[in-house]
Symmetry: C2
Subunit: 107 residues, 2 copies
């Protein structure tokens, strides 16, 4: 792919069901990833935005974690319903979605 | 983890051995990832650098692909032997390793 203006990393780390850390996978990250890909396709934004799944980014208890570069904005507890707003505000206009940002103590 | 100054994404995508696209996994990305983690530990650079494995980033034929943000520098054909130089030059001093950069047509 060409270099994107913004690059979204969706944590899809999985862990066994009883694992004490939990995981973004157990919190529904596959559905979040699919929502990002569907929105990317709907908008045909392939030249501007890249969506990549990733391994663990740390704050598992606050997943699903979604990280956007180059701004280094980490979103917590992302659901498929949040994806359209992230596209509209952050990925298209460069305005991060404040209500979804990870706490400062976390990131 | 705290927000890092630089974030390294190592593609660890795998595909079946006969798949026509190949994969960074088949080209040795696990060893590259382990080399990054070992170097991170050796330097105790946890406050400055994050290392995360990722899914496919596109140019599979030129893997192992390693992407560094916030500069959005993509490195191609990375081997474990390149990792120390990437740390010394790019991750510590902010000077990308030109000889390893992906071609402009790719990224």
């Amino acid at each position: 792919m060409a270099r994107p203006e913004r690059h979204v990393f969706v944590c899809t780390q999985n862990r066994p069901p009883q694992h004490p850390r939990g995981s973004c996978g157990a919190k529904g990250s596959t559905a979040v990833l699919q929502a990002f890909w569907a929105e990317l396709q709907k908008r045909q934004a392939y030249e501007k935005v890249a969506i990549t799944y990733s391994g663990c980014m740390g704050p598992c208890d606050q997943g699903v974690n979604v990280l956007v570069y180059p701004e280094a904005v980490l979103y917590s507890r992302v659901t498929p319903e949040d994806v359209q707003e992230i596209f509209d505000s952050h990925l298209e206009k460069g305005e991060p979605v404040e209500r979804l940002r990870a706490a400062e103590a976390v990131w």
